[in-house]
């Protein structure tokens, strides 16, 4: 290494030193400790005791664990595609030559900005079985609305509804991508006699496919870790634990039952599930994604 190279190395390291310290203290150490704790019986107050793979074995026979996993996957399977499609449709409509676009975009974006605690309070009130406006609207079209948060059949749909309402983030991302699609492509498609649907299917979707993929991956990571809404609206998981989500149960294990070891083991299983689903999503969409000039 020459003198200059060594000097640059030190300068570079000095600049990234905040990241290095943070990485060591708030990522690397916790990750290693988390692996260790997941093989321990640990309640914070006393020292961790090594118990091998007991935590992982317990999980297999823990019905609440399976229920929380099922609920979370159910939530993801319905909310994610719904959000992706709704956001794409809204963004496509917003991308048409219309007046008041920036105002409409701001309105659609607004729900995803509101603090999740406030959003949960509002929905708790809207979903109220007796005085909520959702049931009033349903009553209007002659449907007897359910007790959303008190009926085990309707707790998960309630959370999914909230998720779709708050998908403004994806709309803005889609819209930015749509605005980058060259107009000339649509014009040539029109010359070839393409109608609205085939322009959307054969020009729009391929051109913005990297962004669809981005929203998909972010959606997988986000929905599997949803916590605040479920925790606030349905506390311990709602009736018959029908909306006990994975991270809520993990939180309960860690901070209500003081089973830190079990909570860490659950966190690692969650990580593996996220990695697996991300891998599957990447594999199955790889050939469908079109990266411009690359």
């Amino acid at each position: 290494m020459t003198h200059g190279e060594r000097r640059n190395l030190w300068i570079g390291l000095a600049f990234i030193s905040p990241w290095i310290i943070g990485f060591l203290a708030f990522t690397l150490y916790p990750v290693c400790a988390s692996v260790y704790y997941s093989f321990c019986d640990y309640d914070v107050l006393s020292k961790p005791v090594w118990i091998g793979t007991m935590n992982y074995q317990d999980m297999v026979s823990d019905t609440a664990f399976w229920k929380s996993l099922y609920n979370t996957l159910y939530y993801t399977v319905f909310s994610l595609p719904l959000c992706l499609v709704v956001a794409l449709v809204v963004a496509t409509l917003l991308n048409q030559p219309i007046r008041g676009r920036s105002m409409l975009r701001a309105i659609y974006f607004l729900p995803s900005l509101i603090p999740v605690v406030a959003v949960s309070m509002v929905w708790m009130w809207i979903l109220n079985g007796n005085f909520g406006i959702l049931n009033y609207c349903l009553h209007w079209i002659r449907i007897q609305g359910p007790q959303w948060l008190a009926d085990e059949k309707w707790t998960k749909p309630s959370l999914i509804l909230m998720a779709v309402w708050g998908c403004g983030n994806s709309i803005v991302i889609y819209l930015a991508a749509l605005q980058d699609v060259p107009r000339s492509l649509y014009e040539s498609a029109e010359i070839d006699g393409a109608n609205v649907w085939s322009k959307f299917r054969h020009v729009t979707v391929p051109m913005i496919s990297p962004v669809i993929y981005f929203n998909l991956i972010m959606g997988i990571i986000g929905s599997l870790q949803v916590f605040a809404q479920a925790y606030i609206l349905l506390g311990g998981g709602g009736p018959n634990r029908s909306a006990l989500l994975y991270t809520v149960y993990l939180y309960q294990n860690a901070f209500d039952y003081h089973q830190m070891g079990y909570a860490c083991a659950m966190a690692w299983i969650l990580f593996l599930i996220i990695l697996f689903l991300t891998w599957v999503a990447t594999r199955s969409t790889r050939r469908l994604i079109y990266y411009g000039g690359e």
Binding site: W19, S34, V90, V117
Partner: protein
Amino acid sequence: MRLFQRLLIYVLLTLGAVTCLIPLLWMVSTGLKPEDQTMSMPPTWIPYRLYVEQNGVLTEIAKKDLDKYPKARIVRKIAPRWSNFAKAIEYMKYFPLYLKNTLILCFLTVIGTVSSSALAAYGFSRVKWRGRDKLFVMALATMMVPFPVVMVPLYCLFRWLGWIGTLKPLWVGSFFAGAFNVFLLRQFFMTIPKDLSEAARIDGCSEFRIFWQIVLPLCRPALMVVALFQFMFTWNDFLGPLIFLTKQQNYTLALGLQFYQSQHGGTEWHYLMAASTLVALPIIVLFFFTQKTFIEGISMTGIKG
């Protein structure tokens, strides 16, 4: 475009926009009502007061007493109960402290995030050193680690440091450059021509001065985005305060609101909605003033991600 198509687009978009807005309007409307109007069916959208006119004098009456005046003229006036907000603040008990804690945290985390991520992003983009790109890939990889994985060890670490129950666990970390913000800023730093730094270096400018006086001023939009996102995140964060804060006096607004609901929830909806409005309003106002930065920031994360 044909007229029919255009009309259809407007109708659909308006319907969607109304769906987005109704819950928020409902929140504000409920927050301005007296209790009996919150539970009325059909719902009351605009809060009102009832008066009975007797000898030219208006006297306010409650809705349940309406049958007592079968012959008198009843006057209905629009009347939002602004006092609900004062009541909500009073019932939340430590509202001024919640606000103070939230603002302290927002201030510290914004300063911490912007300064540390800018430094790290500079080191990862504008100085050439051996192993830089390998380390950056590692930084990106840390973004994959979900929070629940590190949640328990962090709790134990902060407990060991004696920080549980103080605000420290919620802001100290922000001074150590999170990977996402470093990534965002690095993308931006790389768009600034190399020649600028080279020229300054030849003139004998120190690397820190190049960072401080040349690169940072050019990157103001990106720094704004990072600051804004961090502010939002801290203001809205629920899980962090829930885990690390123990004393009610230390709660943030978000946690304080949830605490209030868990104590009084299910009855006084008008106060709960007034409190929720108070928590949401600053963010809405902030958004309308910084809309452009917001939209650019969101698009930036999506496109370059």
